[in-house]
Symmetry: C2
Subunit: 198 residues, 2 copies
């Protein structure tokens, strides 16, 4: 997605060989034009999948998840990272380890909002080691629902999440795939056919 890649090139800040900060347009301040485009693109990619629900995780997944849900005309559910006092229902949970924050969070979704009838599109802002993505898939599977695939805004292809999800047979659609952040430069994977064994 060209608009997204341009934003990453122009405004992304490389903090290390593995950390890209995109808080001017994606996960602190949100660019409304870009976010609409992101929703449209995920909806286009999964338009034939008969999606009944979008699932994401707070907080940075909410914006792309919502825009996709609006385009598809289905509800979006966001998993919570800790239990809310007013979420005392029967919960579907999964443990998610964050390599960035070096901590494990339990993510949870009320059993009411993902059911065995659902075909779920999982959306997230980043795919790095894949732990959040796998946790969301685990929740969908615990509900007896089907994972239609993953829509990822920015995939850090040099980390293992993308390979992990694809090796489990999941469809992963990433709007920007980053091959490297080394030497302070963002290198995108411009053409998937060039990439062997991702």
């Amino acid at each position: 997605m060209d608009l997204l890649k341009k934003k990453i090139r122009d405004e992304g800040v490389i903090l290390s060989n593995s950390v890209l900060k995109v808080d001017s347009f994606l996960n602190h301040q949100i660019d409304p034009v870009l976010m609409k485009e992101i929703g449209r693109e995920f909806a286009r990619l999964f338009q034939n999948e008969k999606i009944t629900k979008v699932l994401t995780v707070e907080s940075s997944g909410i914006a792309p998840g919502l825009m996709t849900a609006i385009q598809l005309g289905v509800p979006v559910v966001f998993a919570r990272k800790r239990k809310s006092l007013t979420l005392a229902d029967d919960l579907l949970t999964a443990s998610v380890y964050s390599f960035t924050k070096q901590e494990t969070n339990e993510i949870s979704v009320s059993r009411k909002y993902v059911t065995s009838d659902d075909k779920v599109l999982i959306i997230d802002d980043f795919l790095a080691n894949g732990q959040a993505a796998l946790g969301l898939a685990e929740i969908v599977q615990k509900a007896g629902a089907k994972v239609a695939g993953f829509g990822i805004v920015i995939e850090k292809s040099f980390q293992k999440g993308s390979e992990l999800l694809r090796s489990k047979g999941f469809r992963v659609e990433s709007l920007a795939r980053i091959d490297s952040l080394e030497d302070g430069l963002v290198q995108f994977i411009e053409n998937e056919s060039e990439v062997v064994n991702v």
Copy 2:
């Protein structure tokens, strides 16, 4: 806003005389049709205010904040409830006490994204005791920016937040104003002119 009131009546769950759970359409699962309407209505109410930025707080404020920002054609910034490892910038912060969770969180916004040139519309899902709203206003004022007003999805008018904000001269627009949750019934304030000393 009739669609919102209908949703509250049909799907809201009253947990106590002060707690209304609306996680089927607002803050866990999100109804895309309702959320678009919410954004349109806030944009309409503040259309003459020359808003340059929408400010909200994670997580439940992001959806209404984003939809309003899209309608107004401006960026939305969401304050974080704890510091992120990749948000190491110069931060504008405020302390917010949650009566529901009985804990104090520091909310923070990067100084880069709210500046003295901004006229800021603050959006949140609930207004109860007004602590989060006041914290957001404090951040805007610390940036030297102007608060154009507050757009609140659900105001619990029987708690003190609404009176507190209005007494400070802030414009508060709430899409549903709840007068009482007693006896397991949601009583709306249907007409503001009927209400004395709110």
